[in-house]
């Protein structure tokens, strides 16, 4: 354990209940800068809910989420994004009626207010940044294609690209390789490894093989609580984890 490193995200005692059912129950989670954390766990463990709580989509019953020493609970989604948190959804969530270029442009972090939006101009920096990100996500040849005609995997990448445009310090990805071909997985793993430099990443993933290739650390959730935490190796051999997965 490298306790010297500084944490960018502190989650403490986070709890949310829906009509009495505790989907996340007293969760404590700490993520370092430059860390790529993977959260795994059986269905209904509360993985997606944790991401929802961090990014403000769901309000917790109690607990706190500190990001760069700032409390995120109570902020609305866009405010949390502006603090530097990016979130990708489980099903690819891009603007199908906009082109790849426009998808990225819309994600560029300026002209976000109504007036700023009216005054927004496509400056050389914006264009350069879009091209740079498009290249990163393997879509530089498809800039003028509408989102709707991209393949499933390309949509996933585009959404990651949209996050990158925002230059977040924390990226949260919900099953980024679901539905991808083996080749695309390969490229995605490389992409994730590249972008994890200089920022923290939290990923939810089911594919253990993929997890073992990218994860710095793994957290296992079960019934809204942390069952185990550590390297993939440690977690894989944890008897409680084995029991949960087999018993499931």
């Amino acid at each position: 354990m490298s306790s010297k490193k500084e944490f960018i995200l502190y989650i403490e005692d986070l709890t949310v209940s829906f009509d009495g059912f505790k989907a996340v129950d007293g969760l404590n989670l700490y993520v370092e800068k430059d860390e790529l954390r993977v959260i795994i766990g059986p269905n209904g463990a509360g993985k997606t809910t944790v991401l929802d709580l961090i990014c403000g989509k769901t309000q917790p019953t109690s607990g706190s989420v500190l990001f760069k020493d700032k409390e995120l609970i109570g902020l609305s989604e866009h405010e949390i994004v502006r603090e530097g948190v990016g979130r990708k959804f489980q099903t690819p969530s891009i603007y199908e009626n906009l082109t790849v270029y426009e998808n990225l442009e819309v994600s560029y972090p300026s002209g976000r207010g109504v007036l700023g939006c009216l005054a927004f101009k496509r400056s050389p920096e914006v264009v350069a940044r879009i091209r740079e990100v498009a290249k990163e996500i393997y879509l530089d040849h498809l800039l003028d294609a509408e989102g709707a005609i991209l393949s499933h995997g390309q949509k996933q990448w585009l959404e990651i690209g949209m996050l990158l445009m925002q230059e977040p310090q924390l990226i949260m990805l919900d099953e980024p390789v679901a539905g991808m071909s083996p080749a695309e997985r390969e490229q995605t793993a490389a992409l994730l490894n590249r972008i994890s430099k200089g920022r923290a990443i939290i990923i939810i993933e089911h594919d253990m093989e993929f997890v073992s290739r990218i994860a710095h650390r793994v957290t296992v959730l079960h019934l809204g609580k942390i069952l185990a935490e550590g390297s993939m190796e440690q977690v894989q051999h944890n008897p409680k984890v084995i029991e949960v997965y087999l018993g499931h």
């Binding site: 866009h78 990016g86 979130r87 426009e102 442009e105 819309v106 002209g111 109504v114």
Partner: protein
């Protein structure tokens, strides 16, 4: 990046639409119609201001308001208050027990002009109020609703209730608002008789020019980042939020803008028709304005203008010749537009031009190079909402 010219006029295609509309409004109609019919057209065009606002709000931002009549009416009332004060000078009202105040106040035993009427002596104030009062109300309603993510049917029902409340409140405060009769017998604007033929021509052209100006302004706005954000919001509102945008702020802005535009329409209505009454504020006119927009095509700014013209001309002609049939027609039109032509006249036109241009393209190219691959991609934006389950 598009040039300013492209953005305002919408390129070659947009320029054609503009030219056609300008030709119809500024040349063909004034030359072919007598002043009575032209004045009617002018009245219908004031509804088109509400229509373009609804294109923005409903078509582009995906929020259907059933209370746009309220904003139309408020704009109208602001203008009517000014005109009424001008018409109520102490000499022409000397028969009243309190000369110098509007006649309906006198009938309701008011002895002095209510304080909120005072500033409407000023034309600049009244003109500003035409825009600001509707926008402000929309801002307050929008802020409360959109912050809590009320949308869809709920928003429609609540705005409908607001329309009912405002029309009842105007009804119920007869001394201050003219009640059910509204504010009538408006004669002059800054000394010029608004009922003279000459004035009606001036008002007609003013309406046309303002309307075209509004359309160009909106085209500029929609062709920029705002248009993309609105499209993105309709597509995936959540994603926009997670791209760091305050979605509610955008909706509030669009709602307020649509309200201000409706206000302009209301003010021009009052100038051309000569009165305003709560019957223009309530539920029925509000929903009728939605149907003008739907007929024209809820995604098309120009469509809104044609929709307002077509439906109202139809209403006028039909009710002159077959009064009993008119409601059947109107009802049938609602259903037909919604079920069969969700993008209205503009959608039909679009399909037609797409087909012909594709046909021409196919003729020009060798028949072997099938154009089928890119079919529908450019149209998909227009037909997206029309997919029947």
């Amino acid at each position: 990046m598009k040039t300013l010219f492209d953005r305002v006029f919408g390129g070659k295609h947009g320029l054609t639409s503009l030219a056609v509309l300008a030709l119809i409004l500024l040349a063909i109609l004034p030359l072919s119609l007598d002043i009575f019919r032209l004045n009617l057209v002018g009245k219908y065009l004031t509804y088109a201001f509400v229509g373009v606002g609804l294109v923005l709000l409903w078509g582009k931002a995906g929020v259907l308001s059933l209370g746009q009549g309220v904003f139309f009416g408020l704009g109208g009332y602001c203008m009517a208050m000014f005109l009424k004060l001008e018409a109520s000078d102490p000499i022409s009202t000397k028969i009243q027990s309190t000369p110098g105040i509007p006649d309906f106040m006198d009938w309701n035993q008011l002895k002095a002009l209510p304080a909120f009427w005072e500033p409407f002596h000023s034309f600049p104030f009244a003109s500003a109020a035409v825009l600001v009062v509707p926008a402000l109300l929309a801002f307050v309603i929008g802020l409360a609703m959109f912050k809590r993510r009320v949308g869809g049917v709920y928003f429609a029902v609540i705005t409908q209730a607001v329309a009912l409340i405002v029309s009842l409140a105007i009804d119920g405060n007869q001394g201050y608002t003219g009640g059910r009769n509204g504010i009538t017998d408006l004669r002059t604007l800054l000394g010029h008789d608004i009922r003279s033929q000459q004035a009606q021509y001036v008002l007609y052209f003013t309406t046309c020019v303002l309307l075209i100006g509004v359309i160009l302004l909106l085209q500029w706005m929609l062709s920029g980042k705002m248009g993309k954000i609105l499209l993105a919001m309709r597509d995936r509102e959540d994603r926009v939020r997670f791209s760091g945008y305050d979605v509610s702020a955008y909706k509030v802005f669009i709602f307020s803008l649509a309200a201000a535009l409706s206000g302009i329409g209301g003010a021009l209505f009052v100038l051309q028709v000569g009165f305003i009454s709560p019957s223009l504020v309530g539920i029925v006119p509000s929903i009728e304005m939605v149907i003008f927009t739907a007929v024209g095509g809820k995604l098309s700014l120009y469509g809104a203008v044609y929709g307002a013209l077509l439906v109202n001309t139809g209403k006028s002609l039909f009710s002159e010749n077959f009064p009993q049939l008119w409601l059947f027609m109107m009802g049938g039109l609602f259903i037909a537009v919604v079920v069969l032509f969700p993008n209205g006249v503009a959608g039909i036109w679009q399909n037609l031009t797409d087909k012909t241009s594709r046909w021409f393209a196919a003729r020009r190219k060798a028949p072997a190079t099938a154009p089928a691959v890119e079919v529908n991609v450019p149209v998909s934006l227009e037909t997206e909402t029309s997919k029947t389950p």
